[in-house]
């Protein structure tokens, strides 16, 4: 409550809110891109996924509610945390099973390394903690991601952005050993502010995200459209991710995110 009150009286920072849709195909939500902004914000995101492989007698439906908090300590440093409050999954094959419980939690920090009139570079680090509940035994992923998000305002209403991150993952509590995994995730995209001022109004983004190395040389290449609307402190995002190359079998991820800026 105290940070919230502090935020309400704090002066808003100038930062265009654009980023790829924060979606991941991984079970532990690893490899999500982020934006270059540092801010103070609370957000609630709902996401859903669907995989239907009739040839393999396989289906996977999932939905999650994610609570996110971002807290800019100063214009150069932000701490952030994401907690999956609720994750529901239904997996269908010859047998069906469902799971309802907490999802993973991640904490991290972002640092604005460079910022100019038209460009921003923000390295970040994120630690994902195995806070899953329900489901099978052991095998909870602990992951560390190191990356950087960059943004270049190419035109008045058009921005170009990109994220690169490397992630390392180890499995805790597994009878099969730690099974470390590594991946590189890169995304690049455009965002066009259709109407409104910087930081508010209606925007449309389109990104390409590639992940390599966790399972295959190319885990997936996905197209991610996002429609964003911001008014005053309220932000709404409708995003999706559709794999177009690689072995990922999910049909799509979709997400609806509502945020409230506290700065």
């Amino acid at each position: 409550m105290i940070p919230l009150l502090l935020a309400l009286v704090a002066s808003p920072a100038v930062c265009e809110a654009d980023a790829p849709a924060p979606l991941s195909f991984e079970a532990a939500a690893l490899g999500r891109p982020r934006d270059t902004c540092l801010r103070r914000e609370l957000a609630l995101q709902t996401a859903a996924r669907a995989t239907v492989e009739s040839d393999d007698f396989y289906g996977h439906l999932g939905a999650a509610a994610l609570l996110s908090g971002r807290w800019a300590l100063d214009p150069e440093l932000e701490l952030f945390a994401d907690l999956e409050l609720l994750r529901w999954e239904l997996v269908l094959s010859s047998l069906n099973a469902d799971r309802l419980g907490l999802g993973p939690t991640s904490i991290g920090a972002a640092w604005r390394a460079q910022s100019g009139p038209s460009h921003t570079l923000t390295p970040f680090a994120r630690l994902t903690l195995p806070t899953w509940t329900g489901g099978a035994r052991g095998g909870r992923d602990l992951a560390l991601e190191l990356g950087a998000a960059a943004r270049w305002q190419a035109r008045d209403r058009l921005a170009v952005r990109g994220t690169v991150l490397v992630l390392g993952r180890a499995t805790l509590g597994s009878l099969a050993g730690a099974e470390p995994g590594f991946a590189v995730v890169a995304s690049a995209g455009l965002e066009w502010r259709i109407i409104g001022e910087p930081g508010r109004g209606l925007g449309l983004g389109l990104d390409l995200t590639a992940q390599a190395g966790l399972y295959d040389p190319l885990d997936h290449l996905a197209v991610s459209p996002v429609l964003r609307y911001a008014w005053s402190r309220l932000g709404l995002e409708l995003g999706a991710a559709v794999p177009v190359l690689g072995e990922e079998r999910a049909l799509a991820l979709v997400s609806l995110r509502a945020s409230w800026r506290l700065d």
Partner: protein, 1019 residues
């Protein structure tokens, strides 16, 4: 060393548990100093000992682990152990883990329990316990490494591998045995190393096989009675149970019980074919794992209480659940030596339910089932602090009940008294000499029927009236008695009965009505006589018979052989599922070598689904194939039968030849369109989903239809390189018209295979061995049996198939007289077709048909006599001649002729539009349509089979045309009552129509060489 004392269950929570808890608390898999087998299966990897909290103590216990050698193989009718398998044993039980290259039944590889019994293991009734995480082929464990562990008194076998076809998902199992323990401990671990989240239940697949051990789940409304399901509805029948048990009804009996050690319940589903039990269905993310620890208890005797007593003792240790001993006595009204008696399941069995008389049956929780001993004493463990309803069952019915509220002290119940029974002294003579014969016991009226209908153990298997004994065991079975030459006295529930005795289709029958009151004793003598029905030079053969070596049969070998003798068979092929069968020793022991020739054989029964059919979503198997003669070798896996999974028929033929199929041996396609079970088609053509309206695809164009005739990669034989096909299968002949359609389809396209008729009998009551049968025209005899000459006649198609009528048909051309065969003939213009039909008086012959190129071109119905079925006269039913030229079409195209006799062909339809008859005119309105489909599969076509909307209106449209799932059945018999005409054949023929067919006459015309008339000729 004397016999060890009884095991005592001892609670123990020691250092291993604390260490496990610590490791779990730290979420660290690396707590152990050794490499986990899931991480690295090579070398001396480690997997925790199962059920560490469980302790048994006794004095003088032993344990052993060894690879089985030629002299250490357990023996028994159902034992599968072979040289190279591993035997785990202690002073109480024996378990056999099959070698990695010795695959059995549903498992894609070895490393699974295939035998489990007490003492020396002779009582084994287990067919195999593969492990898996689901029901698809790629959900099942395939083990690649096997290691024997000797840790002093603890002996273990560790097998490691992966899910079949998914090497990333590793799986490891440790089987462990310790002294004194009444079973074995098992721990299995599996990890999801894929990228997908999976819905897994780490489970044992307890393959009961049908007609054998019956599973028991202590769940309200279940017990031995389990809801039916298909692969698409299996999730609906999943249930949690504190333990799962099973027992068979063979002699010596055995019972099993599974208890989870690391969970409060076992989750799974059950049927008479398979129980799948293990962990609850769980969403398993990548890198997550499942662990399943269980104790599999074994006890002697065919009551399930033996193993359940152990299960409750184990749960007392693991979960602190108190249990107590219920005991009592069953009393009879008078002493008698008649069978069945006390100690036999047919006569007295105790079922214990939680609840009372007011508890609806569906809400009662069955806890155990016990059998009284010969002295009437029985006892069983049950959970404490409950109210129980104890039912005494006799002849498949509850005859007395008691209610009792128990605390924790043992309870001795008041005696339960059996109602008075009747005694029947039965003597059957054939030509004046006491003989083996099959006697049907049929209620004479509805009152008796309703008072004697029963089921085994309040739910297993089908209803019998009367229920004289387990329907798939020895005699009496269901409502049938196999009489013996020795005097025999039997107990029967009181009532009015008709006794119907048969010694096969070529002997007279005897019928006798009796009324037996409680305490009555009657002597019945039934006289049969052989009838001159068969021509000379004919041997009567059944090429499809099962016995206890089959996973789905539990009839003792002696009963099996006596049933063959009772049927008057001359030759049988012992065709057990996936194990070479042979009754030679039993025949010799009975002194029947001069009466019955045995062909050791095999029914290759593919069970592992795989995707070999193009453009078909679901994995398939290749159906069932019979082979004879084959050498039986008990030292080899499957008693010498080759592995038959995941290969096309052509490759299977090569494998069986390599396994010793004689050069003259016979390969038979079984029930080509026989349906299936749990996604496994019984017939190869049906698995390919052939459309018989289209021609045979002779070149491999990559289509599913082309699989029928292609030579599979790596094979020398083609999938069509078999010699014979069943045109009649099963005593009721339900699908014979479908088999006939396929046989005709091939014949018309120049692919001539010998047609056979076989019973496919698994016991005394499912089918009757020798009904139907193949009559083989051969110059060999039973006493000097020459199998090569016999097989040559079979392969040449010198046969008639029949369940009663005997057709003797020849083409007389000048001085030559030629019977049906696969050797084509070029008759002269004056050739005649001479036909004689004989049958026992009780066999109806309503019609004679001449079929040319698939079309009935002559029907003879007038003048066929209908003799007294209980008489001995009127055997000759027809004798006549046809001018052959009048039967053949104009022109010089090749043709074929088949002669049929018996009942008139029924009106049938092809509702799924594949050229195969599938549905009869059950509503008798002269049209076969969707209203004739028994959609509820309850054996009746009625209003329940229609679609009803919310307003109670029946759908008038029906399903779309050619809907594949809206068909059948072909035959829906209504059992005739004893007073109705035709009752005798209806009863002995299992409700099927009288039928006989000759093999074809192949008429070669025009250019030399018979190539068939083509499909167009039939149109």
């Amino acid at each position: 060393m004397g016999r060890p004392t009884e095991p005592k269950y001892k609670s123990a929570v020691g250092p291993p548990s604390r260490r496990r808890l610590l490791c779990l608390a730290l979420l660290l898999g690396a707590c152990r100093s050794e490499t986990p087998c899931l991480s690295d299966p090579s070398g001396a990897c480690a997997i925790a000992s199962p059920c560490p909290e469980l302790r048994f103590t006794c004095e003088g216990g032993t344990s052993a682990v060894e690879f089985i050698g030629p002299d250490t193989r357990p023996t028994g009718a159902s034992v599968l152990a072979a040289v190279g398998d591993v035997r785990l044993s202690n002073d109480r039980v024996v378990a056999v883990i099959d070698a990695l290259d010795a695959r059995h039944h549903l498992s894609p590889g070895g490393g699974t329990i295939i035998d489990l019994g007490t003492g020396d293991g002779r009582d084994d009734a287990l067919n195999g316990v593969p492990h898996g995480v689901g029901l698809l082929p790629w959900d099942v464990a395939r083990y690649e490494q096997l290691r024997v562990v000797d840790e002093g008194p603890i002996k273990a076998v560790i097998v490691t591998g992966s899910l079949d076809g998914a090497p990333e998902h590793r799986i490891v199992t440790r089987y462990e045995i310790r002294p004194c323990e009444p079973g074995i401990r098992v721990r299995t671990e599996v990890v999801n190393r894929g990228r997908e989240t999976r819905p897994w239940s780490l489970s044992d697949g307890l393959f009961w096989g049908d007609r054998s051990a019956v599973p028991f789940a202590p769940v309200p409304g279940r017990g031995f009675d389990h809801p039916s399901f298909g692969l698409g509805s299996v999730n609906d029948v999943y249930v949690d149970a504190p333990f799962v048990a099973a027992s068979d009804h063979a002699d010596p009996g055995v019972s099993y019980a599974l208890v989870a050690c690391d969970a409060d319940a076992l989750s799974g589903f059950h049927s008479e074919t398979i129980s799948v039990v293990g962990t609850r269905r769980t969403v398993v993310h990548p890198n997550e794992h499942l662990v399943y620890e269980r104790f599999i208890a074994v006890a002697g005797g065919s009551a399930v209480s033996g193993a359940i007593d152990h299960a409750l003792g184990i749960r007392a240790q693991l979960h602190g659940e108190a249990h107590l001993t219920l005991s009592g006595r069953v009393e009879t009204t008078r002493a008698s030596t008649a069978g069945p008696g006390l100690g036999d399941e047919g006569f007295a069995s105790i079922l214990v339910f939680e609840g009372d008389a007011t508890t609806p049956r569906a809400a009662r929780r069955p806890w155990t089932q016990a059998l009284p001993g010969p002295d009437g004493r029985w006892s069983a463990e049950v959970p404490a602090d409950r109210r129980y309803l104890v039912e005494l069952h006799s002849f498949g019915r509850a005859v007395a009940t008691q209610e009792i509220e128990v605390a924790r002290a043992p309870v001795e119940l008041p005696s339960l008294r059996l109602p008075e029974t009747a005694e029947l002294e039965l003597v059957v003579r054939l030509d004046g000499r006491p003989t083996e014969a099959l006697v049907h016991v049929v209620p004479a009226d509805d009152e008796t029927r309703s008072s004697v209908e029963g089921r085994q153990r309040d739910g297993a298997f089908r209803v019998c009236a009367p229920w004289l004994g387990p329907p798939h065991g020895g005699s009496p079975a269901c409502d049938r008695i196999l009489s013996r030459p020795e005097p025999q006295t039997l107990r029967l529930p009181p009532g009015r009965y008709v006794l119907l005795a048969t010694a096969g289709p070529f002997a007279s029958i005897a019928r006798r009505g009796i009324e037996l009151g409680g305490g009555a004793r009657a002597r019945v003598e039934l006289e049969l006589s052989r009838l001159p029905v068969l021509p000379s030079g004919v041997l009567s053969a059944d090429f499809h018979v099962h016995g206890a070596s089959s996973f789905d049969s539990s009839i003792p070998d002696e009963t099996r052989v006596r049933s063959m003798l009772a049927a008057g068979l001359d030759v049988i092929a012992a065709t057990d599922h996936d194990a070479v069968g042979d009754y030679t020793d039993t025949v010799r022991a009975l002194g029947a070598e001069h009466r019955l020739a045995v062909l050791p054989g095999l029914e290759a029964t593919a069970l592992v689904l795989n995707r070999y059919v193009p453009d078909t979503l679901v994995p398939k198997v290749i159906g069932h194939w019979n082979f004879w003669p084959l050498p039986r070798d008990d030292a080899q896996p499957r008693r010498g039968a080759p592995d038959d999974e995941k290969m096309e028929p052509g490759l299977l033929f090569d494998r069986v030849r390599a396994a010793g199929l004689a050069e003259h041996g016979v390969i038979q396609l079984n029930h080509p369109w026989g349906g299936g079970q749990l996604g496994r088609d019984y017939g190869f053509p049906e698995a390919l989903e052939l459309d018989l309206r289209r021609p045979l695809v002779r070149e491999d164009d990559g289509s599913a239809a082309a699989l029928l005739a292609r030579t599979p990669p790596g094979a020398t034989a083609s999938n069509l390189d078999y010699h014979a096909q069943e045109v009649m299968n099963g005593s009721d002949g339900e699908r014979n018209l479908a088999y006939r359609a396929y046989w005709f389809w091939l014949l018309s396209q120049g692919v001539a295979r010998a047609g056979t008729a076989n019973s496919d009998a698994h016991g005394l009551s499912d089918n009757t061995v020798g009904t139907p049968r193949s009559l083989v025209w051969t110059d060999t005899t039973v006493t000097e049996f020459d199998v090569a000459r016999f097989d040559a006649a079979v392969r040449a198609g010198r046969m008639v198939g029949t369940n009663g009528p005997v057709i003797d048909a020849v083409i007389v051309d000048g001085t030559s007289s030629i019977g049906p065969s696969l050797e084509a003939l070029r008759p002269g213009p004056e050739a005649m077709l001479a036909i004689t039909v004989r049958a026992a008086p009780w066999v109806p012959v309503d019609e004679l048909r001449v079929v040319r190129d698939g079309v009935v071109i002559r029907r003879v119905v007038d003048g066929l006599p209908r003799p007294d079925p209980l008489g001995r006269d009127g055997i000759l039913r027809y004798s006549g001649r046809f001018r052959l030229a009048d039967l053949l079409p104009d022109g010089d195209a090749d043709a074929w002729l088949v002669i049929e006799a018996g009942a008139a062909l029924p009106l049938v339809g092809d509702l799924d539009c594949n050229g195969v008859p599938d549905t009869g005119d059950h509503d008798t309105n002269g049209v076969v349509d969707w209203r004739d489909v028994d959609r509820t599969e309850d054996g009746v076509v009625d209003a329940l089979d229609l679609d009803w909307d919310e307003d109670g209106r029946a759908d008038a449209e029906g399903p779309p045309e050619c809907e594949p799932d809206e068909t059948g059945p072909l035959l829906l018999p209504r059992p005739l009552r004893p007073e109705e005409a035709g009752f005798e054949f209806d009863r002995l023929g299992h409700g099927g129509p009288a039928a006989a067919f000759t093999n074809p006459f192949l008429i070669d015309r025009g250019a030399p060489g018979w190539t068939g008339p083509g499909l167009g000729a039939a149109r």
